[in-house]
């Protein structure tokens, strides 16, 4: 019964979203305030309907209702409660439902928190959200309905892929989706601006919190995904340039570019068309990501062919969005007047540099990700593009970008003098050379990368010191300056510092990690990166829905690291639980392989240098974005918007 209610709510959401699109758009076209005011309640009703629908699906999973096909395929009565709930979005249908739920959440947020927006703009934004919602709801209802019944109902389900039975996977998709789908709001704002035919500084202020919200969630989501793959897959790495990872990384790059270009728009009333275009492209990338991950085209052409309905539907959706929005852009953008002259040595110059590199970076990642698909579908030749490609294209592009990140915040708007800037980063640059000298003899890449990271950290700190006039005025007045600095200033500093920490971790990890693979019997000692581990014992264990072997390793200081091999009988699958000893300089990471003889096991031990700094840096970036998001200066009231309502 509850399942039917959820199904019904899903259909209601579709109907509402269609009206949510048509009525406000018609209302704005013929200036009918009553039709325009239909937008907000519709968005809230759509969200409520989807909450009910999603709630009923959760209920079906929690209650292990095996008359629902989706529950049978992705759950079992033995599964721990947390994973019963997480199993809702651990599969295609459920995760698409989560996708539209979050989409409607953003639509409803614009309705509820968008009181500062002009009525017409808000109505248009909500209408576009409704349009996206309507397309995806159609997709779900016709190709991926999670509420399909299975009759007769089996006694138990087939269980969830054990790799997905993990806290990381319970958290990662919802947060990642918040970011992915959050970009829909900026897309809607851009489309609304194009419909209006004008983009103003106020528009930049209105859209910025939404970009920040999406960016923060996207950053955190990607980080969580990386952490999950680090400890769950047992391959020792934190980023594999896997197409699925790239699918989330490309929107991130574009969103980062957007985040910076919108600042230029806000402060200098420039880069109008470019910013609108970026907002369109960012969402196009997140749709592309959804298509790549959800259509099955990546995991196998095979599964794409078997279930081509889904893939083709999404491909059509993707093309319509891209072609449609670019067409709208080509038609309306010339109406947006914009004429600015930039000087390279200026704040906006640095921000444009950021944009240039971010977009080029995103393009190289795009080429590496989809070229193999193209080649195979055209010539049948099968290739794979792995980390070496991305390391030799994307990474070099980031070096000048990092320089711009360090220098940019010192520059004034309009035009600055390079000499003054060089003076400002002088201290940091001196330290850069000291790091060079200190690291002399290590691999050149490590030396360069680590020095660059240190340079960036110092220049961020110097910039902060400049702002509070540290050592130029009394310490007390510096402190009081520090307290009244706007949150967005701290946001920027923390995010840039986070980037530096991330680079430090990533470079260090790349150059100083080592691994040992061998057979070992309990009692043997293994040396790695200056540590001596004792492989103590292997014991049989038992979990709620699995059997396991637990290997015990002991560090020289007595710390015990446990690494497991689990066997899940329901799913008929094996997983590896990595043993981890997290340390600031490098994690010790142990994997227990299979038994090769009595009391002899294959073991693999990694020393993953600096890996923890990668996560810390990423979360700092996210935190910086969050601080900017909370800056009260962004919450301006209806000021200046009367000019926009024509």
């Amino acid at each position: 019964m509850i399942v039917e209610l959820g199904h019904m709510a899903l259909v209601i959401a579709l109907v509402v979203s269609v009206f949510q699109t048509i009525i406000p758009l018609y209302g704005t076209a013929c200036q009918q305030p009553r039709l325009i005011s239909f937008a907000c309640p519709a968005a809230i009703v759509q969200f409520t309907a989807l909450v009910l629908s999603f709630g009923s699906l959760i209920n079906a999973f929690v209650a292990s209702d095996f008359s629902v096909a989706n529950v049978v395929d992705n759950s079992s009565s033995l599964k721990p409660m947390l994973y019963k709930v997480a199993g809702v979005w651990g599969n295609h249908e459920g995760s698409m439902l989560l996708w539209v739920l979050i989409l409607s959440f953003f639509g409803a947020s614009v309705a509820i928190f968008g009181a500062n927006l002009p009525e017409i703009l808000r109505a248009r934004v909500i209408a576009i959200q409704g349009l996206i919602g309507a397309s995806f709801l159609t997709f779900i209802i016709f190709t991926s309905n999670p509420f399909v019944r299975m009759i007769p109902a089996p006694i138990d389900g087939r269980g969830l892929n054990p790799l997905l039975q993990d806290i990381g996977l319970a958290l990662h998709p919802p947060i990642l989706y918040l970011g992915y789908v959050g970009l829909s709001t900026t897309f809607s704002f851009a489309v609304a601006a194009l419909l209006e035919g004008r983009v103003s500084r106020s528009w930049a202020r209105w859209v910025r919190p939404w970009i920040l919200a999406a960016w923060v969630a996207l950053t955190a989501g990607i980080t969580l995904g990386s952490i999950w793959s680090y400890y769950e897959l047992g391959w020792g790495g934190w980023w594999f340039w896997d197409p699925v990872e790239n699918a989330s990384f490309m929107p991130w790059l574009v969103a980062t570019a957007l985040l910076h270009s919108v600042i230029v728009l806000e402060k200098r009333n420039a880069l109008k068309r470019w910013t609108v275009l970026l907002a369109l492209v960012a969402f196009a990338f997140s749709l592309l990501g959804t298509f790549l991950v959800r259509s099955g085209v990546l995991t196998s052409v095979h599964s794409f062919a078997v279930d081509s309905q889904r893939g083709i539907f999404m491909l059509v959706l993707l093309s319509v969005t891209i072609v449609g929005s670019l067409f709208l852009y080509a038609w309306r953008a010339p109406a947006i007047e914009s004429s600015e002259i930039f000087f390279f040595i200026s704040r906006e110059g640095a921000l444009i540099t950021n944009n240039l590199f971010m977009i080029t970076g995103a393009t190289t990642v795009l080429i590496g990700t989809i070229y193999p698909l193209f080649l195979e579908s055209i010539s049948g030749e099968k290739i794979s593009v792995g980390p070496p490609f991305f390391e030799s294209t994307f990474v070099p592009l980031m070096v000048p970008l990092i320089l711009a990140v360090g220098v940019g915040p010192f520059l004034t708007w309009k035009r600055d003098n390079l000499v003054i800037v060089v003076k400002n980063v002088f201290f940091a640059t001196v330290c850069l050379f000291m790091v060079f000298v200190f690291l002399w003899g290590v691999p050149i890449g490590a030396m360069f990368g680590l020095a660059l990271a240190v340079w960036l950290m110092l220049s961020v700190l110097t910039e902060w010191a400049h702002r509070v006039r540290l050592f130029r005025v009394s310490l007390f007045s510096s402190l009081s300056r520090a307290l009244v600095l706007p949150r967005s200033a701290y946001g920027m500093s923390i995010a840039h510092f986070g980037l530096a920490v991330f680079i430090f971790g990533a470079v260090g990890n790349n150059f100083y990690s080592t691994e040992v693979v061998r057979y070992a019997s309990p009692g043997e000692k293994i040396k790695i990166a200056g540590h001596t581990l004792t492989f103590q014992s292997v014991n049989a264990g038992k979990g709620v829905n699995y059997d396991s072997y637990v290997g015990k390793f002991v560090m020289e200081n007595g710390q015990v690291i446990e690494s497991e091999r689990r066997f899940f009988p329901i799913e008929g699958q094996q997983t590896t639980e990595v043993g981890l000893c997290i340390r600031p300089l490098g994690d010790i990471y142990t994997v227990l392989g299979e038994a090769v003889a009595r009391n002899k096991w294959t073991i693999r031990i990694y020393y993953n240098a600096f890996v923890v700094w990668i996560w810390i840096g990423s979360f700092l970036m996210s935190l910086g974005g969050l601080l900017s998001f909370l800056d009260s200066r962004l919450r301006i009231r209806l000021q200046g918007s009367c000019a926009i309502i024509r």
Partner: protein
Amino acid sequence: MSNRKYRVTMLIGCLAFIATAVALVLIAFEDSVVFFFTPTELQSKQINPERRIRVGGLVEDGSTQRGPSDAEIRFKVTDGNTSLTIRYIGILPDLFREGQGVVAQGYLHNAVFQADEVLAKHDETYMPRNLATAIK
């Protein structure tokens, strides 16, 4: 500098930048693209032993052997017609099983494939992309 001149300079700068990026991509493609072959295709081709390639097929039943030295494993993959011996040092993926599909990445030396990476299918319904077409 006049506006026009400035714009032209900026444009040239951007074009030079894009050209650099394109060059980077092309050079990288030359070096880092990994081609996929089936054991049958390998027989008829001369593959440079320096070149990293991928080989895919089903693991032959009863072909898995453990070597005497550290964590060395040998197994054969087949595409139905030809089989190829693969040598790998390390822990095989959790989903590695005889009779199932795998993709190995590495170098071909004297008819033995030295793998530095072995990928197995992800779950019951997944088959490595290249393999699905190779077996058919």
